[in-house]
Structures are given as C-alpha cells and as structure tokens.
Amino acid sequence: MSFRTRLFVAFSVAVLIPLGVLGFGVRREMERRLTGQYQRRVSVAIQAVQEDLAGEGESISGRLAALAAELEQDNRFRLATTRTDAADRRYLLDYAGGAMRLTGLSLLQVQDSSGRIISSGHFRNEYDRMEPTLPHLLETASGSPVLVRARTAEGSLVALARIDSLRVGSARFIIVGGVEAEHRLLGHLVRDPELSASLLYPGQISRDTSSRKTVGALPLLYLDLMPGAVSRADTARLVLTQWPGTLVSLRRSIDAWFLIALAVTVGLALLGAGWLAARISRPLLQLSSKTAAIDLDRLDQDFSSERDDEIGALSRLLGAMMERLRLGTARLREAERRVAMGDLARQVNHDVKNGLVPIRNVLRHLAREAEQGPQSLAAVFAERRATLDSSVEYLETLARNYARLSPATSRERCDVNAVVGEVAQAIHSSVAPVRTALDPSLPHVLSDRLVLRRILENLVGNALDSLAARPGGGVVVSTEAFIQDGAQAQVRVIVADTGAGMSRAELDRAFEDFYTTKEGGTGLGLSIVRRLVLDLGGILRVDTEPGAGTRVTIELPAMSNGAAAP
C-alpha cells in the first residue's frame, strides 16, 4: 500500500468514524423523542375521538329531543297519524326529509310503536317497512355509540345513530336519527392530519396495512339493516391509524443531510489527503529519484531545499550525506591513486630491476673481463650484446607502457562516427568482422581524437579477443544520440560482442590495473579506458554474461551546435 493510499485511508477513517457516530446518535435521539411525542399525540387524539364521539352522540340526541318536542306540538303530525286524508299523509311522508335537512342529520326515521316506518328522511319512499330491531338496539345501548347501516335509494348509509321517543295521544312514536359516519363523521373526528379513522365492520379485515400503522381501535355497536342481512347487533371497530409520513420524512431528511455532509466531508478529506499526500510524496519521490541516480561517478546531485519541514530536513540531510560521500570518494580515489602509484612504483621498481639485472650482470661480466682479459673484451661484449639489447628493449617497452598510463590529452571537436570508422578499418581481424551501426545525426563531442581512438581500439580489441574462444561471433560498434533527463545531449557508443563474456567476479576486477585474463595481456586496457572516459566527462557501463557476450556502453556529453572547441 502506497504512502498516498495510507494517507487516504487514514483521512477517511479519521473523518468517517466520528461523523458516522455523530449521525447515528443524532438520528437515534431524534427518533426517540419524536416517537415519544407521537405516542402522546396519539393518546390525546384517541381520547379526543372518544370525546367527540360522545359529543356527537349528545348532539344527535339533542336534535332528536328538539324534534320530539316539536312533533308533540305539531297539529298536522297529530292529524296525519290519526286520519287517512291524502294531504295529511303527504305531510307525514315528507316530514322526515324536511326535518332531516333542518337538523343537519343524515338519517332520520319516525316509527310507530310496532316498528313500522311512517316517515323516513334518508329514504323517503321506504315508509311502511317494519324495522323493530333498530329502536330495540338503540334503547338497549343506553347511550353508547351505535353504528347503523341503513338502506337508501341508491345504496346504503352508515350512520352514528341515537334514539328518542314522543307520545301523541295514546300512541308512542320513536325517532331514530344519525349522522353519516364513513365520511362526514370520520372526516372531522380526527383533527390530527397524520391520523385517520376508518370503520371496520364485522368480518372485515383492515384495508390498508401497507403504509399506515394502527394506533388504536374503539369498539362500536353495529346493526346492518340492509336487505338480506341478519338483523342482530354486532361489533364494528373505529380504527385509528397513523401515517408515519412526518417521522419518515424527517428521518429521510436527516439521512439525506447526513449523507450530504458525509459526502462533502469525504470529498474534502480526499482532496485534502490528496493535496497533502502530493505535497509529501512528490518531494519524496524526487529525493528518491535523485538518490537513485547517485553513483560514485555521479556525485553531483543537488539536494538543496528551501523547505523548512521534515522533507527539507531530509533533503538537506541527503545533500550532506552526498557531500560526505563525495569527499569520501575523493579520498578513496586519492588513496586508490596512491595505492596505485605505490603499486606502480613497486612494479616499476621491480620491472626496472628486472631490466637492469641482466645489464648489471653483463656490465659486471665485461668489467671482470676488462680486468682479467681485456683482449677478450670485444668478444665477450659481442657475446653479451644481445642481452644488453634485449634488456634495453625491455626497458623501452616498459617505458612506453608506463607512458600510456598518463597520456597527455588535447580537447577538440571530434566526430565519434569518423573515429569509429577509422578503428573499424584499421583493425583487420581474422577472428571476426567488425561491423558498425552509426547514427548519422550524432553530434560531436569534445575530446582528444587519439584518446577516443585508444578507447575504441582497446574495447574493440578486447571484444575481438573474447571471440577467439567462440568463433563465428561478431563485434558491432554502434552510436546514437540521446537526451538524458531533459538536460544536455549525450552521445552513446556501444561496443557489443558475442564472445565469452565475464563472470561477476571477473567484472568486479576488470577495471583494476594489471588485471588480465589474457595470456600476454598487460592488465591495463580496461583500466586505462575507464580513466580516459572519466577524463572526458563521460561514464562507462559494462553489461556482460558468461557465454553470452559483453556490451560496453560509453556515454559522452555532446557538444551543442553553437559550442566552440577550447
């Protein structure tokens, strides 16, 4: 997991968990309080409904009492009930309709003592029907609310009914009145808009259980007077249901706002985490890149930083470390140089001694001959001259070889492709051909032409030597230009062979002076090549594998087009 991802996760967890805890707590507390509030409201509403039902019953009773008192004084009613005159009968038939409208009732019947309807307001033409069950039930209900399903011309009517009676002469009459229950009564019984009342008749199952919650039920006496129904008292229920819409919408609103806040917070957290991670990880990546580029030959990375934070401190620390590394490397190189010089001095001493020993022996031999037999001096000299010449030649060769260790260079504009071509032509090997693959747009480099040639001759020679044990291979010298890290253009020269290659141990020692695996080799070739390349400001890289060949890459800084040779 990357540092940036960890930062993201840390930010998210740090934000989400407290926010989630807060949202859960707010929601739970609000639900607890709202539920309690709802329960209190429902209780109050149920009580109000009971009181309203009782009040409505009282109101109906009051209206019936007023009608009864009025009818007792109504002479036309008295005549209509005692005579058979058509006009009086019409008055009787129409009486209940007018009285019903006048009193605001939905149901009104006048019955005689036998239960025969003599006037009906809600169904004018149902007179003469016998309906004794209704007054009997209402009388036995003793003031309790009674629901009656009565017949009308166009269907039925459910009413909350009450009863009263009057006496005209010796006859007793019963008045049954009521208020329509399903719409008119239920509509104003419940004042809370989130509560609603509905009637469940005997044998009926609640119609709407999907979205509403039943919060209370009041039993009511019920009588069905419809044709075909059994005329007996039963129990209906006034069911109060609650629509939890406000609570649900409040919950949804809280959830929605919580999710919005969460999304905004997470978004901001992610943005912040991204910004912070970028601010931290980008300099770290840069430091990492610079650190990866550090090499003993490339100790020029710039770790300077203006930042005053940990990144700046780390950068400066790396800069100081690289400075120490640079000093250490310099000291190491100096030590190496000194060691090399000591070795060289010892080697020179040894070699010179080796060269001088025969000479000294010859001179001692000549000196002895000059003392003991001067006449044979010439012959001895002639005899030993070859030894002298051989020793001198050896010393001259030794001198030339040592002269190669520190050649004098002169920098000039140099065409690498041309030098490669010269080397390829100069070296004619019977082992393998030397092929070239040259970049025609290769820029010039600033170099000593002879140094460059020496480098290439050494490398091509080594490559050809490596092919001696593996005939059939080849050597390819290629050039190309490139730009590294958007900085200065570079020239790359690659000498690749398919020869024996080197082991890791051989490669580690390949650049040591006087280390050679070739018979008759001086062990100075690659050492000199490396030194020459470094002197030219370039780098040298060797990729090799035993049995697969070796690939030596030299990268030299190119001259810009406008640059002039010093």
Binding site: F123, R124, N125, E126, A153, E154, P227, G228
Partner: protein
C-alpha cells in the same frame, strides 16, 4: 318595456323570466295583411277552442308584454324540440308547426291556414298562411318548408314513423303531404314540434331575461311573472294564496311507466301489483307533485300501423340491479325510489342518469328497470316505441300534470295537446 327582437342564444340554466310581446294585444302593430287565398268551402273548418283548453280568455287588457318564469334550464340549441317542460313552454311561443292540436285533440291552423285531402284520403294539401315567416324574417314558402324538413333528421324521422311517403310543394303556398295509408283526419304528425318553424310577423316574438338561479318560482311570482307552470304543490299552494293569480290545473299530459327489459327479474312482485289501487297509492304517496294513477287507454297497447318490433331476446349481459331514471325528473326519481323500497331486495337500487345516458341504456336494456315519462298522447307513437328495446314490458304507474299560474288580467292563454301553454294567438277559434 322594449319590444325585443333578441333570440335565445344559449342555455339559460335555472330559473328564467321570459318577456313576451303579444302580437294580438294593443301594441299598435297589427298582423301582416293576409294575402293567402281564402279557405275554400271544402277545407276542414277550424273547431272552436274547447273551454277546457283555455286557461284565460283574454280579459280586456292593454298590456303589450307578458313575462314567463321558467323553472328548468333552457338550451336554445334544442329548439324546436323541447327536452323539458320549460323548453316546451318557451319553444311553443317562438315556433309553430303546420297545424296545432289543442288539449282535446282539436285541430287549429298553425303554419298552414287550411288543409284539404284528396279523394283517396292519402294526399293532403296544406296552404301556408302568408303571415308566417321563416328565419331572418323571410316569408315561408312551401318549397323552403319541404327543404327544411328534408334537412332535419328529427323531422324526417317523424314523417317517416307517421307513414308520410312524400312532401311535395305545389307552389309558393301549397304543399302536398302524401301518406302510405288514407286518413280521414289531417295527420297529427303535422303538429309535432320536429316540424315546427320559427315564427315572426304577426306572431309573438319572445325575449328572455334571466334571474338569479337561487330564486325559486315564488320569487318570480313576487316579482310579477305573468305565467308560471309547475307541479310543485307548495308553489301552487302559495299561488292560491294570492288574489291576483289564477291557478289552473292543466290536462294530464304525461304517463310515467316502468319499463322492464327482457331478462329483467326481481321486480316481479312490483309488476304483480299492477292494479288501479297500486297506481293510486303510488300517485298519492310516492310522487311529490300532482299525480293520479295511470288511467287507460294506453297508446302503447296494440299500436296500429307501427312495424312489429323484433322478437324478445335476452341481452348478452344480465341487467344490473338499478332502476334508473332521468336525474332531472323529480317525479321519476320518486317513483324509482318507491319501487326500490317496495322490492326490498339485496342489490336493487335506484340511480339517476343524464337524458342521453338514459336513452343509450334503454336501447340496449342493460338496467333492471327504467322509469320513463311518456307523453299522454303522442302524435307519432311509432317513433316513441322505436326507442324501446325489443321484448320490453311496460308497467303504467302514474299520470301527472302541471298547474298553470297566471295573472288574472292576462290576455289569452291556451293549452296544446302536449300540455304546453300557448300565450297570445288568434282568439277567433274560440269565438267560433
């Protein structure tokens, strides 16, 4: 009061007050010169107006306008065929058919001043009066009248159901109506409103002033309405209490019946009580208006000359449980409710329908029963029968009538065959 020439231009809902200029009154404008040829001696003489059809004989009065109060909505688009009593009263003042039938069936001149049959009794020649005018005040010619009848679907239907084979104009004033069967009497279809034309010239020209919907007809009487017709007992009672009003019961003009489509059941107990006593009880108790038990003869029993209806067939769908009626008809509703109350069976209810829905339902017979108001004497009985589904059973219930309430000093008011009041007009028939 201005002499208005304004026509009814749209529905006049609710109560309306009609102002009527009386052409025969002392308004200073006499009838147009009669240029028609005088009736020949062979023409049918016009009978005198029977006294039973005269509401008021036109006591001496110099009034040139009268006002009529309407209790029902009026839609002038229905003219000249009325759909309720108010439209019947109103259209009768502005439209005239070729002949006029009084409440006892007497024939009087309308658009036609005279009529004569040929020897076979099939071809009747009508002579149009020249004081009649058609639309836009133009003189009505025989050719134009025939063309108008051809273009009107209702007129063509009435003539067809009455057995009229052709209507041919002879000249500007004469028109020959040829029947499929000879008749001794002028065809009564010529009194049908479907054949009526707007009248002008010497005839009355009505104008309408609407009054508030909330007012009832008692308010109209209080505001001076000259002519009111109603079946409301309370209104009649109120009018009787006023000394300046005359209340005259009009002839029985409607018979309410219960139509039972083929396949209808559940009302057999009601049908079984089809008796004079049952009908009288219905008229006494169930109807909120002036009614009596329906009295025979009933014109729908053995109608002559009508094509036989198709044999009774059970409808594809069983009739529903409702006894239906026209929702604007209070008496029909009372009767439907009483029948439902008497039936006292589960599922049987009553329901009011619009006139169009009622007619559509009747044609397919999809309801259990229909309460219909039929004319007491239709001039084209076959046309009425054609609207019923085949195999229907008819149970007569009650006859009803309206009461005319008129001011005592009103000019002449008579009653037509269908119970419609005709205000003004020529009193010569009455004088004969």
């Amino acid at each position: 009061m201005p002499r208005s020439t304004k026509r009814l231009s749209g529905p006049a809902a609710g109560l309306g007050l009609l102002l009527l200029a009386v052409g025969s009154g002392g308004c200073g404008h006499g009838p147009a010169p009669n240029t028609a040829p005088p009736p020949s001696s062979s023409e049918t003489p016009e009978p005198p107006e029977p006294s039973s059809c005269v509401v008021t004989r036109g006591a001496s009065s110099d009034r040139d306008t009268i006002s009529i109060a309407l209790a029902e909505p009026v839609d002038s688009a229905h003219a000249p065929i009325p759909e309720n009593d108010a439209e019947r009263l109103l259209f009768r003042q502005g439209y005239s058919s070729p002949i006029r039938l009084d409440c006892e069936g007497g024939v009087h001149p309308g658009l036609a001043s005279s009529w004569t049959p040929d020897s076979s009794g099939r071809a009747w020649t009508l002579v149009l009066g020249t004081d009649s005018s058609a639309l836009a005040g133009e003189s009505l010619t025989a050719e134009r009248l025939a063309a108008e009848w051809r273009s009107r679907e209702a007129a063509a239907s009435a003539l067809q159901w009455a057995g009229v084979e052709s209507v041919v104009p002879l000249d500007q004033h004469r028109l020959v109506v040829t029947l499929s069967q000879p008749q001794e009497r002028v065809p009564e279809v010529l009194a049908d409103p479907a054949l009526a034309m707007p009248v002008g010239g010497g005839q009355a020209r009505p104008s309408l002033v609407t009054v508030s919907k909330s007012s009832d007809l008692r308010d109209a009487l209080d505001h001076g309405a000259d002519v009111v017709q109603s079946g409301d007992p309370a209104l009649v009672e109120y009018a009787k209490s006023r000394a300046d009003r005359l209340t005259v019961p009009l002839p029985w003009n409607k018979t309410y019946v219960l139509l039972l489509p083929a396949g209808s059941n559940g009302l057999d107990s009601i049908v079984g009580t089809d008796s004079a006593g049952f009908r009288s009880e219905l008229a006494r108790d169930a109807v909120h208006g002036d009614a009596r038990g329906a009295e025979p003869p009933f014109w729908w029993v053995n109608p002559s000359g009508c094509p036989r209806s198709a044999p009774a067939s059970v409808p594809a769908a069983q009739p529903s449980g409702a006894v239906v009626y026209s929702r604007d008809d209070r008496i029909a509703r009372d009767l439907a409710e009483r029948i439902v109350a008497l039936a006292a069976l589960p599922g049987i209810t009553s329901r009011g329908l619009s006139p169009a829905d009622l007619l559509g339902s009747l044609q397919v017979g999809r309801e259990r029963g229909y309460i219909l108001a039929l004319p007491r004497w239709p001039v084209v009985p076959c046309r009425e029968l054609a609207a019923w589904p085949p195999g229907v059973r008819v149970v007569p219930l009650v006859d009803t009538r309206l009461t005319a309430i008129v001011t005592r000093d009103l000019p002449r008011v008579t009653v037509d065959w269908d119970g419609a009041l005709r205000v003004g007009g020529d009193p010569k028939g009455d004088r004969r």
